[in-house]
Symmetry: C2
Subunit: 347 residues, 2 copies
């Protein structure tokens, strides 16, 4: 019943329009796509007013549900987080987070510099009670009916000790349950082998701690997983430190794009294979959708007092729309409210 | 001229026949495949004599170039390296390495437990002069004319400091040059971003050390790479610690096999796509060959006084043959002799 009422309510998303690799137009196109799908969205769009207006004026319906917040500067992709915090208070990124922090928006979305976004989010939203290191959770294409698994940390921090890994497990479980309705999530810990003696000391300690928490927190710990298990049905939530998670994520993306390119080349090699490709086109398109990282775009920052979604820097309109769709779903399910109360329970 | 003479010489490969997931028959089938391709191979096959004979007797030509070394025990895949060393002196793995160590074989190959194999190899062959941590180098399918890049460490050790990473770079360069004739290898260091401030401290230190060695050692350091760059043309040699390398490798394999399965499913979905798949079959087979990890099977242990090739535990006959082919190529190029002299120069 809750959901029905909430669906009527408006959901305000605070969007950093300047962050992506492809400029404002792609962001506006993405907002347009998402707004056609969901009736109750409103946008606070942060960035250079003239640039945003130029694209927004062509889309009167989107324009009508959007408010532009003019910002003088943009955080560059290469900017160090410490520098961004010091000099970036008049940036679109800072402004997008400020509207979340002051309660005018439900969720913030940015395609910008991940490190700067996390640093600014920690400063403005503060860590949730009981959380030491916030984490970035990503949705990873997987071989299950849902089509994805949750992996964290995908790069919020370059290290994690045993306690951090336990917190990641608990945050991942909350995300799986309250964001995607997975009632008893299976949790795995990423390692170099599944045997109990494998890997680093902090992993041994973390595995004991996570196992000890499974009953009281309503999840199942499936033990160590290897990289090849990430897209499998063995776990719903895969826990790792941010260095390993980031490398794994990008390695998976690189492998998928290598195969996509090789497939395209192979199918254009001969007349027979070109004809074959035409006959298979709808199946191949479906496949492409399943393995296209744009469709599961949206890393989420967990462990803060508020939900920030980091869209891929290179996201196109489909990718931006996917991030907005994720934001919408999380609000519909009341995820941020539930998550905050969960953290309070853990602490 | 050197190569011509060596081609006439026999190359003796010491094979642990008991290690793989699929038993002796797959190993013998792999040796058969490789022996049909190369005329100058001889095998020392270590394991249960009756099991080996059972399969070898069906292949008289292979039998004629093989000597069986009967071994009473097998190292299990889950065995801890420390236990394997203590109790495994009468195992096929130990025996295969002993024949390399005593000079009766040119190269040793095993599909068995990686940790045990490395521990035994270190004990029997000893580290090469100047080497602190040996590494496992793997060939990674890549988008270049060669079809692969070299990645190390893929899991010999779970940690590496800045000095170790420099040694990995130098070993990788020697492998690229003397094993694959890449005259001026490009070397990259795996990190979570390409910006100079990204990642852990040991990576910052290692990047300075590697850069300082590029001129004197005839390679080009291209700086930090991300996971998505591993299959790219940006580098020939990608350096990382064994934990990260192992997770990345298995993540890449998992992604590739997910996509292969989804592709197969997609193409059998409708009559049109099934017909399309038939028309495209030769192109798809070619693609499969390019992305099939079996065709680049064979991790090599670098940094020891002798060359050990670790074949994938799950390798089938094609995979085993690929590992033997790699061993053959390395001997033809005189890799192990050159490599040992290289290490002496570094030390």
């Amino acid at each position: 019943m809750d959901n029905v009422i909430e669906k009527k309510d408006r959901i305000v998303i605070s969007v950093d329009a300047m962050g992506g690799d492809h400029g404002v137009s792609v962001i506006v196109d993405g907002l347009q796509k998402a707004s056609l799908r969901h009736q109750n969205l409103e946008f606070l769009i942060h960035g250079n007013k003239n640039h945003i207006l130029e694209h927004l004026e062509k889309k009167p319906k989107l324009h009508a549900i959007s408010t532009i917040v003019n910002c003088r500067t943009t955080i560059e992709m290469e900017e160090k987080p410490s520098v961004a915090i010091r000099n970036g208070k008049d940036s679109s990124m800072w402004s997008a987070l400020a509207e979340l922090s002051n309660g005018k928006a439900n969720i913030a979305v940015s395609c910008g510099n991940t490190g700067a976004l996390m640093a600014m989010a920690m400063l403005q939203l503060r860590k949730a009670p009981g959380i030491n290191r916030p984490a970035i959770a990503v949705l990873w294409p997987a071989r299950n009916s849902r089509g994805f698994n949750i992996v964290l940390d995908a790069g919020a921090d370059i290290k994690a000790d045993a306690d951090d890994l336990l917190q990641y497990a608990l945050m991942g479980v909350a995300y799986a349950r309250d964001g995607f309705d997975i009632q008893k999530p299976k949790v795995g810990l990423l390692n170099v082998g599944t045997e109990i003696h494998k890997g680093r000391n902090e992993l041994h300690e973390a595995s004991l701690n996570i196992a000890a928490n499974q009953q009281s927190n309503g999840f199942e710990f499936v033990g160590y997983l290897e990289g090849s298990d990430i897209p499998s049905g063995k776990a719903d939530v895969i826990v790792t430190d941010g260095f390993t998670g980031n490398v794994a994520l990008k390695t998976g993306e690189g492998t998928a794009s290598l195969i996509r390119e090789l497939l395209k080349e192979s199918l254009s090699q001969s007349i027979a294979s070109r004809l074959g490709a035409i006959l298979s086109i709808s199946s191949l398109k479906q496949l492409n959708k399943k393995i296209d990282p744009r469709n599961v775009n949206g890393g989420i920052f967990l462990g803060l007092n508020g939900i920030v979604i980091k869209s891929h820097g290179g996201a196109d309109a489909i990718g931006v729309a996917a991030a907005i769709n994720l934001a919408h779903q999380l609000e519909i399910l009341g995820f941020s409210r539930k998550l905050t109360s969960k953290f309070n329970r853990y602490s």
